[in-house]
C-alpha cells in the first residue's frame, strides 16, 4: 500500500459513459490481489477534495521499449462517469498526472472449487476480471453479466479470452438474454449446486444473489461499495453492519479495510443500508 504520484498511459471510452484508464503503477503487478481497489486523486489541488475509489480491473506490463528500459507496470481501472470526479477523470490524457493510493482492501478469498460462478452487475464487473484470471487455473469459471442495456455490458470478450464461459443478460434485451442476471444465476445454481459464487454490483442485485445462495447453501463472496474518505480504515465513514449487529455490539466492518469483499455470512443483510446508489452501478430491480 503506497501513494504514487503517477502518470496516465491511456484513457479510452469503452461505451457511452464508460471509460478505461491505464495508469503507471510500479509494484502493482505482484502486489494487487483480485478484488482490491485504489483511491485516485483526480486532480492536484483541492477540487474535488476527496479521492475517488475504483476497483482494480487488471494489472499488467508495458513491454520494455527499444531503448532497453525495463518493463513498466501499470494498473487499469474501468469507470462510469456519474459526477464531478469521474467527469474530470474522463478529461485526462496520456501524460497527465494522477495520484494513486493502493492497492487497498482485502480482495477475494479464493476458494478452490470445480465450478466458479462470477456475477457482475454493470460496472460491478470490475473486480471480477483479476479474480477470473486466477480462478481459470483451477476449474470452470462462468461469468453471469447483467446490465440495463447493452452499454452496461463491458469487457466480456476479455473474460472469454481467459477461457471464461459468459452469459449476458440485459433488462431491455438489447444484448444477450432479456431479464435479470439473477434469473440466470438461479438456473446455473440448479445445475451446479456445489459452485462458489463471487458477486459485485448494485445492492438490490447483491441481495437477490445472497437470497439464492443462502437457500441453496452455496458459498458467496460479495464486493461492496460505500462512501469513502480515507480508504485505509481511519475515518470510519464506510462501515457496514456485521452479522449479529446490535446497538450495544455494532460489529461494524470497514468496507475499505475489512472489505470491500465480504463473505456473505459476515454481513447483517437485513440491516445493510441501501448504500450509495449513485455508485456507478446500474440500479436494477431484482
Amino acid at each position: 500500500m503506497q501513494n504514487y504520484n503517477s502518470t496516465v498511459l491511456s484513457n479510452q471510452e469503452l461505451a457511452s459513459g464508460y471509460y478505461r484508464m491505464r495508469i503507471l503503477a510500479p509494484g502493482y503487478v505482484s502486489a494487487a490481489r483480485p478484488g482490491q481497489f485504489v483511491m485516485v486523486r483526480v486532480r492536484g489541488g483541492l477540487e474535488p477534495l476527496l479521492r475517488r475509489p475504483f476497483g482494480i480491473f487488471r494489472t499488467g506490463f508495458m513491454p520494455a521499449d527499444c531503448e532497453g528500459l525495463p518493463d513498466k507496470e501499470y494498473v487499469e481501472i474501468l469507470y462510469k462517469v456519474v459526477g464531478s470526479g469521474t467527469s474530470l477523470l474522463q478529461d485526462l490524457h496520456r501524460g497527465d498526472r494522477v495520484e494513486l493510493l493502493g492497492p487497498l482492501g482485502n480482495g477475494f478469498d479464493i476458494q478452490p472449487a470445480a465450478e466458479q460462478i462470477l456475477v457482475g452487475g454493470g460496472i460491478g464487473l470490475v473486480p471480477l476480471y483479476m479474480l477470473a484470471r486466477r480462478l481459470v487455473k483451477g476449474g470452470n469459471v462462468r461469468l453471469l453479466m447483467g446490465g440495463r442495456c447493452r452499454d452496461d455490458i463491458l469487457a466480456v470478450t476479455e473474460f472469454e479470452r481467459l477461457g471464461v464461459a459468459t452469459y449476458v443478460s440485459t433488462d431491455d434485451g438489447s444484448l444477450g438474454e432479456e431479464g435479470l442476471v439473477t434469473e440466470v444465476l438461479e438456473r446455473k445454481l440448479a445445475k451446479y449446486p456445489r459452485a462458489n459464487v463471487y458477486a459485485c454490483g448494485p445492492m438490490p442485485m447483491l441481495r437477490a444473489v445472497h437470497e439464492l445462495c443462502r437457500t441453496r447453501k452455496v458459498p458467496l463472496q460479495v464486493s461492496l461499495e460505500a462512501f469513502m474518505a480515507c480508504g485505509v480504515g481511519a475515518c470510519l465513514g464506510c462501515v457496514v453492519k456485521g452479522a449479529g449487529h446490535s446497538e450495544s455490539d455494532p460489529r461494524y466492518l470497514c468496507t475499505c479495510k475489512e472489505g470491500p469483499v465480504f463473505r456473505a455470512e459476515q454481513l447483517e443483510w437485513d440491516l445493510l443500508e441501501k448504500g450509495h446508489d449513485d455508485c456507478g452501478c446500474t440500479e436494477e430491480e431484482a
Partner: protein
C-alpha cells in the same frame, strides 16, 4: 562561507512544549482522522510526528451513526461518524501494544455521554502510562440536560472540565466546538476550570442535500464540516482564544500544507492538528513538518518558537 549558508547547515529546532509535554515538532493528527495510528503507519514513520492523537474514546464501545456518514462539499467534507469507537477496554487491549513502539507522545481523545462517564474515563486514562495527555472533547450532547451540548454552555463545560481535572493525573487538553456565539467565553470557562491547554476548533455543523432525490446526504441529517473551507473560521477562533487565555492553544481546522499551519502558529497556536488533509494525502503531515523546517530556514530562524505568536500589528 558566508553567514546564510552556515545558517542553512544547522537544522532549525521545531520542538515545542504544550502543558509540560515536549513535542519533537508542532504537528499532530486531529482526532478521528488518524484512527489509532496504525492505519497510516504504512506510509511514514509515526515518530516523525509531534504527537499521536487517537480517535475519540468512550467508556463503552459506541456504535455511531447509520450510513451514509460522509459527504463531500466544496473544499470540505461533512462527517457524521457519531463517535463510533471500540471503547477504552478494547483500546487498551488491542491498540496499546502498537502505540507503545513510538517515542511520539500519545494523546487520547475522549468523551462521555454523562458527567459520570467523563469522570470515569479520566480515571481510566490516568492508569495508562502510555498515554501522555488526554484531549477532552466536549462537543457531545449532555443526555441528562436534554441534549444541550456541553461545549456550547460555559457552565456545563466548566463542570465537566473540573470533574475531569480532578480525576486525571496528566496534562488535560480541552477541545472546543466552533458552534458558539463567543468562543472566548468558552475558552475562559475551561481555563478556569483547569484545562492545561485548549484545542480548537472541532467541526462546524453543516448539512448537504441531494437535490435529485431530495434527501439529506447524511443519514444523520447534520454533520461536522471540516477541511480547507473552515480554515478562516478556525484561524479567527484560535486568534481570539490566544488573546484570551494563558494556557497554550493547539490550532486545528483546514490545514493542508505548511503555509496553512503557519497561519495558526503566527497568531499564537503552540501546535497544530491536521485532520481531513490526511484523507486527501496520507503524507500531508510529514510534508507539513518538512515545510515548517524549510520556512524557518528561509526566514533565518533556528527555532519554530520564533514563529509562534509572531503576528505583527497592522
Amino acid at each position: 562561507m558566508n553567514n546564510t549558508s552556515q545558517q542553512k547547515k544547522q537544522r532549525p529546532s521545531l520542538s515545542v512544549e504544550i502543558a509540560g509535554l515536549r513535542l519533537k515538532n508542532p504537528v499532530m493528527p486531529a482526532s478521528g482522522t488518524f484512527g489509532y495510528g496504525q492505519e497510516y503507519a504504512p506510509f511514514f514513520d509515526l515518530d516523525e510526528l509531534g504527537a499521536i492523537v487517537t480517535k475519540g474514546l468512550s467508556l463503552h464501545p459506541k456504535a455511531g451513526n447509520p450510513t451514509p456518514r460522509i459527504a463531500e462539499t466544496t473544499s470540505g467534507m461533512l462527517n457524521a461518524i457519531g463517535l463510533q469507537n471500540v471503547g477504552v477496554e478494547d483500546f487498551i487491549r488491542d491498540k496499546m501494544a502498537f502505540l507503545r513502539q513510538f517515542r511520539a507522545p500519545v494523546i487520547a481523545n475522549f468523551f462521555g455521554n454523562t458527567l459520570e462517564e467523563y469522570g470515569e474515563m479520566a480515571r481510566r486514562l490516568s492508569d495508562l502510562p502510555e498515554v501522555s495527555a488526554a484531549e477532552l472533547n466536549i462537543s457531545c450532547p449532555n443526555v441528562k440536560k436534554g441534549g444541550i451540548v456541553f461545549g456550547t454552555d460555559p457552565q456545563a463545560a466548566a463542570e465537566v472540565v473540573s470533574l475531569v481535572r480532578r480525576h486525571l493525573d496528566k496534562p488535560l487538553i480541552v477541545k472546543l466546538t466552533p458552534n458558539v456565539t463567543d468562543i472566548t467565553v468558552m475558552a475562559r470557562a475551561v481555563e478556569e476550570a483547569g484545562a492545561d491547554a485548549i484545542c480548537c476548533i472541532n467541526t462546524l455543523t453543516g448539512m448537504a442535500v441531494d437535490v435529485h432525490r431530495r434527501k439529506l446526504r447524511l443519514a444523520n441529517g447534520t454533520g461536522g464540516l471540516s477541511g480547507p473551507a473552515i480554515r478562516p473560521v478556525a484561524v479567527r477562533m484560535v486568534y481570539q482564544v490566544v488573546q484570551t487565555v494563558k494556557v497554550p492553544v493547539i490550532g486545528v481546522g483546514g490545514i493542508t500544507k505548511a503555509e496553512d499551519a503557519l497561519e495558526f502558529l503566527v497568531v499564537g497556536a503552540r501546535a497544530v492538528q491536521v485532520g481531513t488533509a490526511n484523507f486527501v494525502d496520507p503524507l500531508a503531515m510529514p510534508k507539513i513538518v518538512e515545510g515548517l523546517e524549510r520556512f524557518c530556514r528561509e526566514q533565518g530562524m533556528d527555532d519554530i518558537n520564533e514563529v509562534i505568536g509572531s503576528l505583527q500589528s497592522t
